[in-house]
């Protein structure tokens, strides 16, 4: 299978600042001939976790929605990229719903002690968190990051393999386009991800 990347735009607002930044990274990856599948969370249905803990026994979620197929894509990708704007000092509710639904993988890993990804791929996959915030505070992303780490840890992406591209002070629509460094950082991040994927997986797996 050729190298492939799953890019998830978590914002309810299509083509806003966080998704635009995601698109920059995606374009940089695609330029290297690596396949990227992009999904906008607002176009699919991923309901919040019900906290029923059934996944601790069933090894699957009792809810039937788009996580049925999106969950498998999360595990199959060589690199997963999640983008979300900051709303009220945290990731948006839609992105938090996706992260909370990853509970099924946490149950698989820590409760049932079953493999989440094939052993040869464990600790090799890459994760990226892309975010934008209207506020200029340097701590505006602090409360978002721990939940993102949980999301990646339960899908067997190591802390050291999570990259962050977080840009504050972009409030108005399209403001990211005028940011002095974000575009170049997104481009460089895309190239770095491709380089790392090729080192780890060759031209595919």
């Amino acid at each position: 299978m050729a190298l492939h990347v799953l890019a998830i735009a978590g914002s309810p607002r299509r083509h806003g600042n966080s998704e635009t930044l995601l698109d920059r990274v995606v374009a940089s990856i695609q330029e290297e001939g690596v396949e990227v599948e992009k999904i906008a969370l607002t176009d699919v249905t991923v309901n919040p976790c019900k906290g029923c803990n059934a996944c601790e026994k069933l090894n699957k979620c009792v809810q039937r929605d788009d996580l049925d197929w999106l969950g498998q894509k999360l595990l199959d990708a060589d690199c997963v990229i999640l983008s979300s704007p900051i709303y009220c000092m945290g990731i948006c509710a839609q992105a938090k719903a996706l992260i909370d639904r990853a509970q099924v993988f946490r149950s698989r890993k820590y409760v049932l002690k079953l493999p989440v990804v094939p052993p040869e791929r464990k600790g090799k996959r890459l994760g990226v968190f892309i975010s934008t915030a209207g506020q200029k505070w340097d701590y505006v992303f602090d409360a978002a990051v721990p939940s993102v780490k949980c999301f990646y840890h339960v899908t067997e992406i190591r802390n050291a393999d999570i990259a962050y591209l977080m840009v504050n002070g972009v409030d108005l629509a399209g403001e990211i386009e005028e940011h002095p460094t974000a575009g170049a950082e997104a481009f460089a991040l895309g190239k770095d991800l491709v380089k790392k994927m090729r080192e780890r997986f060759g031209d595919g797996h």
């Binding site: 914002s11 309810p12 607002r13 806003g16 607002t42 919040p48 976790c49 019900k50 906290g51 029923c52 803990n53 704007p85 709303y87 009220c88 000092m89 945290g90 990731i91 948006c92 509710a93 839609q94 938090k96 719903a97 992260i99 909370d100 990853a102 509970q103 602090d142 409360a143 978002a144 990051v145 721990p146 939940s147 780490k149 949980c150 999301f151």
Partner: protein, 207 residues
């Protein structure tokens, strides 16, 4: 003087650790003479904020669902207790869904400038955050606080106190915790008496 205490349960799991802790808080508030009500977010129909920013022009949300009535209750309450378990190091998506929908109040305060909570108003309106976590890490609640702070700021409540209990997995649930339920009940009583004191004499009995 009637004091309204509103409890908002953000847990999808009915009558679990967090909701039980909220119930203890509300029992304490009721014991101090408050009118109490509990709203369970799981029972409401609402969608997350769409990020459309229409409220920046109108001051109202274009989404018409059960949250309109809940925001009326929030703004009419003297005390609110917002409860959520910790899922993936943060509040639940259910509670975050409510918090993000308060954007229309932010818009009224900072964009349209037709809503203002005076210092006196904020002092007389108390917000309490109630949470439980399975993990025993000391920092497990840290990411929840900024989002709850944003919510209390937006709705005109002073962030008065936290009632938190971690390590639920080891205690076998909130009922196995040595102090949390009693603490919640005491704090429910205290906050109502504090608001009553502020309303009647204008002075705080707390500090």
């Amino acid at each position: 003087m009637d004091i309204n205490a509103l409890g908002i349960s953000g847990s999808p799991h009915r009558h679990g650790n967090t909701e039980t802790l909220l119930d203890a808080f509300l029992a304490g508030a009721k014991g101090a003479g408050a009118d109490v009500e509990k709203v369970v977010l799981r029972d409401l129909h609402y969608s997350a904020c769409r990020g459309c920013n229409a409220c920046h022009k109108t001051g109202a949300c274009i989404v018409k669902d059960d949250l309109a009535g809940l925001f009326e209750k929030i703004l009419a309450a003297d005390v609110i207790a917002v409860a959520s378990p910790i899922y993936s190091m943060g509040i639940t998506a259910d509670l975050k869904g409510l918090i993000d929908r308060a954007q229309f109040l932010w818009a009224r305060k900072f964009v349209l400038k037709n809503l203002y909570f005076s210092t006196d108003h904020i002092k007389r309106h108390k917000g309490v955050f109630i949470s439980t976590a399975g993990q025993n890490w000391e920092n497990v609640f840290d990411s929840a606080y900024p989002m709850v702070t944003a919510f209390f700021n937006g709705t005109g409540f002073e962030y008065y106190d936290n009632i938190i209990a971690n390590n639920m997995d080891a205690y076998g649930g909130i009922r196995g915790h040595p102090t949390a339920l009693a603490e919640a009940e005491t704090k429910g009583k205290e906050v109502v008496l504090e608001v009553a004191s502020l309303l009647s004499t204008g002075t705080s009995g707390r500090r």
